[in-house]
Symmetry: C2
Subunit: 287 residues, 2 copies
Amino acid sequence: MLGAIEAGGTKFVCAVGDETGRIIERVKIPTTIPKETMGEVFKFFKRFDVTSIGIGSFGPIDIDQDSPTYGSITSTPKLAWKDYPIVEKVREVLDVPVGFNTDVNAAALGEATFGAAKGLDSCLYITVGTGIGAGAIVQGQLLQGFSHPEMGHIVVRRHPTDTYQGNCPYHGDCLEGMAAGPAIEERWGLKGVELSGRDDVWDLEGYYLAQALMQYILILSPKKIILGGGVSNQQHVFNAIQTHLTEFMQGYVSIPELSTYIVRPGLGDDSGISGALMLAYKALENK
Amino acid sequence: MLGAIEAGGTKFVCAVGDETGRIIERVKIPTTIPKETMGEVFKFFKRFDVTSIGIGSFGPIDIDQDSPTYGSITSTPKLAWKDYPIVEKVREVLDVPVGFNTDVNAAALGEATFGAAKGLDSCLYITVGTGIGAGAIVQGQLLQGFSHPEMGHIVVRRHPTDTYQGNCPYHGDCLEGMAAGPAIEERWGLKGVELSGRDDVWDLEGYYLAQALMQYILILSPKKIILGGGVSNQQHVFNAIQTHLTEFMQGYVSIPELSTYIVRPGLGDDSGISGALMLAYKALENK
């Protein structure tokens, strides 16, 4: 049996399942301090005979296997978790191989294995919620270089009528600073869910997301783009992305038909946890 | 003996060599019409007993092995070469396996095998000349998705004092439209080489290139960035890129020390042709 942890900033989802993506049992645990949260995590897994664990984690994290701090959450603003060596702790307590990657890379893996990009060797998963993050599969492998991608912070060009200054503590008006949930709420004075009927809101959101997707397409050329997170519940966002992306690209690159190219997650809210199961499976293979 | 073709818009370089990167003989052939240019190409290779040929080509090209037009130059503005099935022609005439990729992907492969990124499984090669193009190695493989990257056309934010409108026929003021050689010449009224001493010119150039590198780093996280093409002969550009990149990133991602991270090609002008030799070598392996 495989174990999976989707380590998020507000909750941890733990599950046991198998390499077909079947989830046998799962639990949600609030993210408080490591001792408390991980105590509950270990309590859950000790009930099962797991052969390996996959972790998709909030970040930034250290995924460089040659680094002395490999397997840690690094410079997170959640101070209790800063420098927490989650892989080492899980290995210590459960004594099984551990696979480790970002939450969004795990989600991309889940979607490429069981979801909307099933059968493809390339996809991009982007989530827009309290932050913006993206992961990718490139030629069948999770995208990694000197570190994992940090695609939420790319530069975007401001809409000429948008006076909102942006709220990224690092970059001000980068993509996340202009288009994540908190930016929507601060700009319009209401939460995203309360703005459902407002086409102007979702058109502007689509304007920023289309710019981001244009960069991702020109750089990575993914075979499928999966948009998850709260914003993806607004159908108008998908329409607006299609319109703006077509306008920005100007036909320069022939891209796949947009209505089936940019889609919702095939696994609903389970992209990340399913991907974490696959990380566990890979950890077992690489043992 | 391996054969290599660097197919450029103004000239073709053909070479024979081996998998250690050694070039035994080479020839330059002007790019006119396919019949003429390829006639000379074939004449050169018929003098040798080559076991395979690697081609790094100007584009856009079709590198999708499942596509009916695989191995063709596609929608190039050089009309005589539009839809030219270069791989098929080379296979027909020389009857050997053929490796095929973009000129910039070939250059990235050359630098990762023999040059500034030797020993690394990840690098990005960007060239700034009459256009801007980039290729990348990701986890030891040439970057490819539904097509090859087209990184020269990403969105950049205009410098507040820059009134130049941009000259990309598709996007106007995308990266290539603002920062390639023709844009420099049109903005300042002189060719790049005549502007050597003008720090303001290279500072602005560095401003746009740093934005592009920021996007590439956040999305691909390359272990080394190699800047080639005419612009890389201006030392001031490297200084300006370092300054602006540091300012744009705001310490968000810990990136490698910039002076050894963003470098000139280790192979001088031979990145592309050396990479094409490696494409030939891989074609032989995959036969």
